[in-house]
Point group: C2
Chain length 455, copies 2
């Protein structure tokens, strides 16, 4: 494999011969001198190549191979440049039709040409930061003794009733319409009605109670008809699950995890993050560094409510009421005014949380936690799980759940039950948080949402 531009840029210019392959980003012509910036996507900046003989077809987007000598650059902002000896155009890009010209394009427009947008500065940077964050996720868990578990994508169990589901089928809807008879799911591929998963948590618990520390990192799906900048129908989720652990262990893991991720991108994606700080959201670098330097404040929900109630009557649009979910304005108040940094809220009323969360001795709250960060709000949500069979069955009956459907999940409490805990983090939210990209559709290569499954 030829050298990447990011590695060439690290070389000391000593007139050595190098070969650069990439795509032309910009071209300037000055009397007898031509400057092109060649980028291969390996780093934010490309390499400037200069040469003195005119060359046809060297327009933005053309792929080129440049042979030359690496020399110190007289230009600002770059240590080296390439004094080209030969420039070969590999593939042209007709300036009349190539959609990515030098001018800035709206993100809306770029979403329509998602197959080309990674060639832009912004989406190249998003892709690199996303990739580095994903690897950091694996590094963190691997270094800490967690096993990566691939939980199933297609499932016949409805999980936690966590919202609208996509059905997966090989039955032919056209045929069903023609026959006019109800679909026979015994003839469907899996022999029963099947869906795309909304979470790998329950299956991850089965592995945590065998391997002690596990995590999932895979796609999850919500068929919710919400056309917002914060929701996708298909998104990637990270779900660690930890045996022999309680809520305090989980809160420690949460803080260590987020700090590890931020530390990694701050040191490994410096140029890309600087770009986001300058062009996408001013101050984002300082805000990430502040989180890294902070100690996460722990506040039980009930105490948080007291803090919120203390605030002036006109502070909030929605009055904070014990037993209700907090609004974004409440969360912002807690992080920005009360704690001045990240907050882990815990011990929520059981009514607003999932059935599997461990009941506190008060009988009213559960050992849940959400991590709220300034600027974004909730980024991680988790809980200690109910490990007492009788209590869990009681709660499931209260909620009218079918215990037989969950007998495998209940087995974990029947045989060698242990205290355990886990959280979920939407990976795209993390990428948004780190890059400052406002629309979640701009931090995943091919976003899926209502009416949108192109490419």
């Amino acid at each position: 494999m030829a050298a990447l531009i990011k590695d060439i840029l690290k070389l000391h210019a000593a007139s050595q011969d190098v070969v650069v392959r990439g795509w032309v980003r910009t071209k300037r012509e000055l009397k007898n001198l031509t400057f092109i910036e060649v980028n291969d996507g390996s780093s934010l900046t490309g390499i400037q190549c200069t040469f003195d003989h005119p060359q046809a077809d060297l327009s933005t987007g053309a792929s080129v191979e440049v042979h030359g000598k690496l020399v110190p650059s007289p230009a600002k902002g770059q240590a080296v440049e390439l004094a080209a000896q030969s420039v070969t155009v590999i593939g042209k890009a007709d300036p009349e039709s190539y959609p990515l010209q030098k001018k800035r394009h709206s993100f809306e427009f770029l979403r329509e040409i998602a197959h080309l947008r990674a060639r832009t500065t912004t989406f190249g940077a998003v892709a690199r930061v996303r990739s580095r964050l994903a690897f950091a996720v694996h590094e963190f868990f691997h270094q800490n003794g967690f096993q990566y578990v691939h939980t199933p994508i297609i499932t016949a169990s409805d999980a936690e009733g966590a919202g609208a589901l996509f059905q997966v089928t090989t039955l032919n809807p056209e045929e069903i319409a023609r026959s006019g008879t109800a679909p026979d799911y015994q003839r469907d591929f899996f022999g029963k009605k099947s869906f795309l998963t909304v979470s790998g948590q329950l299956e991850a618990e089965t592995y945590a109670t065998a391997l002690s520390r596990v995590y999932t990192f895979g796609p999850t799906f919500r068929a919710e008809n919400s056309n917002t900048t914060r929701h996708l129908a298909e998104f990637w989720m990270i779900e660690p699950e930890l045996a022999f652990a309680d809520l305090n262990d989980l809160m420690r893991l949460t803080e260590d995890f987020l700090k590890f991720l931020l530390n990694t991108v701050l040191s490994d994606c410096e140029a890309d993050l600087h770009f986001f700080d300058t062009h996408i959201e001013k101050g984002i670098l300082a805000s990430l560094k502040a989180v890294l330097d902070s100690h996460f404040t722990h506040i039980p929900y009930t105490e948080a409510l007291i803090e919120l109630e203390k605030a002036a009557a006109d502070t909030f649009e929605f009055k904070p009421v014990w037993g209700c979910d907090l609004q974004t304005e409440h969360e912002r108040f807690l992080t920005e005014k009360v704690a001045g940094g990240p907050v882990i809220l815990s011990d929520y009323p059981k009514e607003i949380k999932a059935f599997y969360m461990k009941l506190n001795p008060d009988g009213k709250t559960v050992r849940a936690m959400d991590l709220l960060v300034p600027r974004l709000g909730e980024i991680i949500g988790g809980s200690q799980r109910e490990d007492d069979l009788a209590v869990l069955e009681g709660r499931m009956r209260e909620l009218g759940m079918n215990l037989h459907e969950y007998r495998w999940y209940l087995d974990l409490r029947r045989y060698g039950s242990v205290p355990h805990a886990g959280f979920g983090m939407g990976f795209e939210r993390l990428v948004q948080y780190v890059t400052g990209m406002a629309n979640i559709r701009d931090v995943i290569p091919y976003p899926r949402a209502v009416g949108q499954a192109d490419f």
Copy 2:
């Protein structure tokens, strides 16, 4: 977090106090002494704990917390053991009903209790090797300048017509049956007929032609009604895609990649691999090491056919014929008899390969390659891609494909086209290859196949 047993086992026994948390695997009672082996899934072997006071509820599968002193072990095969001071049962496992008793269970039986099988020695080892291999995949690509790209799972494009598809829908089949009118896909979630992906390659190409080196690692799906030990309806696939690269670069990448993976598990999963070598498939360790030490032989398909034709008439059940896919017996002959090691077969007849593979100047063969390894056969398949717009369009027309559907894919050849290449590797095949597990359903936590989507 408490220490994992794998780390405790590495400590030098100097009578220090340690705490062990895990599940009882075996118990033996000898006069006044009780021995339990406690395993937490962090390593193949657990730790032996000895104590002199009888303790109720200490049966196989029970979860325990043991406090004691780490001391040198008089027993064979372990350096240290725990002289227990206290043993606390956290969660019982009723010996009358707990399905995993000391005796060996058939893999068929364990598939029915897939939620518990990771607690067995075999499936714990499979899970650890799988996890380590997955991380090694990310390490290899990260170290070599590849960006991880999440290609879409749901897609409205039929990809390469690579087999039967699962449809993804929010239309209600019961309602369609009642109404008796054809489904209106404009009212479906994505506004058109949508499916689960069979490959991320085409989308990966869009990122490779922007970032130079990318890879995917995600679930893919085939709705094929094949009830075999080698096929899953849902499986994980790794697909690197490399710009400015030809078939030779790809063959080098293939060899480097597989060797990196084998090297990693051979050094990091020694105990687990030794277990597979002893209990699952004798000789597997030697066979993996032989691949590591080999140089992969490159043979063009046409030359391979000549070798096969040279063999005695009664060597094969199926006569090798130029233009046909090779049978497993042919592949084995090439690896075992001709090359005596891994073989990269290349330059296949275009008729038996996909539309996007680069046509050779002979007009008859394409720049495809398959890596065949002894014992398993094909483990990796890839190709250089057709980067010439006119040739690609011509081939697609020949095959009756809808060019308009693929206009975004063709754009990659229209604007800044570059030579590029990539391969696909089914991750479960790799895990089978490394562990020797005969049935692919035993190397993924929750296998999905015809009639099987439980848990």
